[in-house]
Assembly symmetry: C2
Homo-oligomer: 246 residues x 2
């Protein structure tokens, strides 16, 4: 039911108001305030029940925030990768990982909302979300370095069957001989997500987080399976530069 006509003023108002609602709610979340319907409404000069014209419940409002943040972080990651030379996919992948980590450490509430939430579900991964970005970067890395891709035949049959039909969108190149890249991607995501989560929630010596020792050690672990061992020194230098810059 796409509207092809020029948008009426009411339609435009609705879009604007919805954007302002999400924006105000995000500001409250980031500034440590409580994201309540009344607080959000107050920010826009409205009353709380008015928000029910835009979200069916408080939980749905939170979900709207989460989706907005999710999209933004995916964009930031993609931008960080794009800021590296086009012919250096290793630097692009590293920059993306660093960006994700720095964003998480600088926006813990938002990170917890999206990536460590048991209540608000259904923040389904979609194209443009972080997973898709890393998927593309990994394929580009393989095209440049041709690191060994795990053959599905060498994996446990049950595992191979799962990898053949990924449940989240991945780069379309990850089929056939490259289906094993889904496993590489999953394991890499597990390392990145796990390390960043540990750093964000602080269940580890804080000094190892501040100085980035844990994060850099994780990256170093990843170098070998990704064929980046010879590049590790310059990549660690790059991480150092990105950490002080961001």
């Amino acid at each position: 039911m796409t509207v092809t006509e020029a948008p009426t003023t009411r339609q435009q108002n609705r879009i604007d108001t919805e954007a302002r609602i999400v924006s105000a709610a995000r500001s409250l979340l980031a500034d440590g305030g409580e994201v309540t319907l009344r607080a959000v409404a107050r920010e826009l000069g409205l009353t709380a029940p008015a928000l029910y014209r835009y979200a069916a419940s408080h939980e749905e409002l939170v979900r709207m925030i989460a989706i907005a943040i999710d999209g933004e972080v995916a964009g930031k990651i993609a931008a960080a990768a794009a800021a590296q030379p086009a012919d250096d996919p290793a630097a692009q992948l590293i920059a993306a990982c660093v960006e994700f980590r720095q964003w998480a450490l600088g926006n813990r509430k938002e990170f917890a909302l999206i990536f460590a939430n048991v209540d608000v579900e259904c923040i389904k991964e979609y194209d443009g979300s972080s997973g898709m970005v890393f998927s593309g970067l990994l394929v580009a890395l393989w095209e440049a370095y041709r690191f060994p891709v795990p053959a599905l035949a060498d994996l446990e049959p049950g595992l191979a069957a799962i990898l053949e039909v990924p449940d989240a969108p991945v780069d379309p190149a990850m089929k056939g001989d490259l289906a094993g890249l889904v496993w590489t991607l999953t394991q890499g995501w597990s390392r990145l997500y796990g390390t960043v989560t540990l750093e964000v929630f602080g269940h580890v010596d804080a000094r190892l987080v501040e100085e980035g020792y844990l994060f850099r050690s994780m990256i170093a672990d990843q170098a070998e399976p990704l064929g980046l061992k010879p590049e590790l020194d310059r990549l660690q230098d790059l991480i150092g530069q990105l950490l002080v810059a961001g």
Copy 2:
């Protein structure tokens, strides 16, 4: 100010009531109910303000729950390890890891409360907490297998300085030549925590969680640095048994 006298009935009542408060609150959390002051009080036949004699605020009540759960999970992990043969520290460590993972997947709310919380802080690590358990298991493993311990001199100076003075309690054996075990412990904890958190919050293909592929892959990664490569087959069998049993 320790009381050496026999406890008066009032002191005993206070202890009992506090225990019942924490127990009722934990039941509410586990059963999906809201952990509100009124709900907890109702469970004991009290009124909400009465709880302020035991916890200065709702947040402190939640912290009391968290500490209780933290202690219990540490006990479960230690018990799972103790259930393995005394002369098989590898099996003990594996059993502890599996127990932690299974508990987390079966008690997601509680796991999130303790291990993925940005609000309730100050759940400081203490003796008897999970970290201490894994610390002891790792030392026992080293005594049996003598896997290579990273020498502090080979690490970055800043990292070595941190490892020399751990901020969380670790096994007293982790000094001198064995100070590098703190780094091994930290990296291992990073893998376990990261993988389990990813599994609990579901930011990965659910089928990889159900079948345990992600978890077993993480364990396999750990085998080499811990000198368990020759034992990996039987340890994977052990994991399979423990997963179907628990």
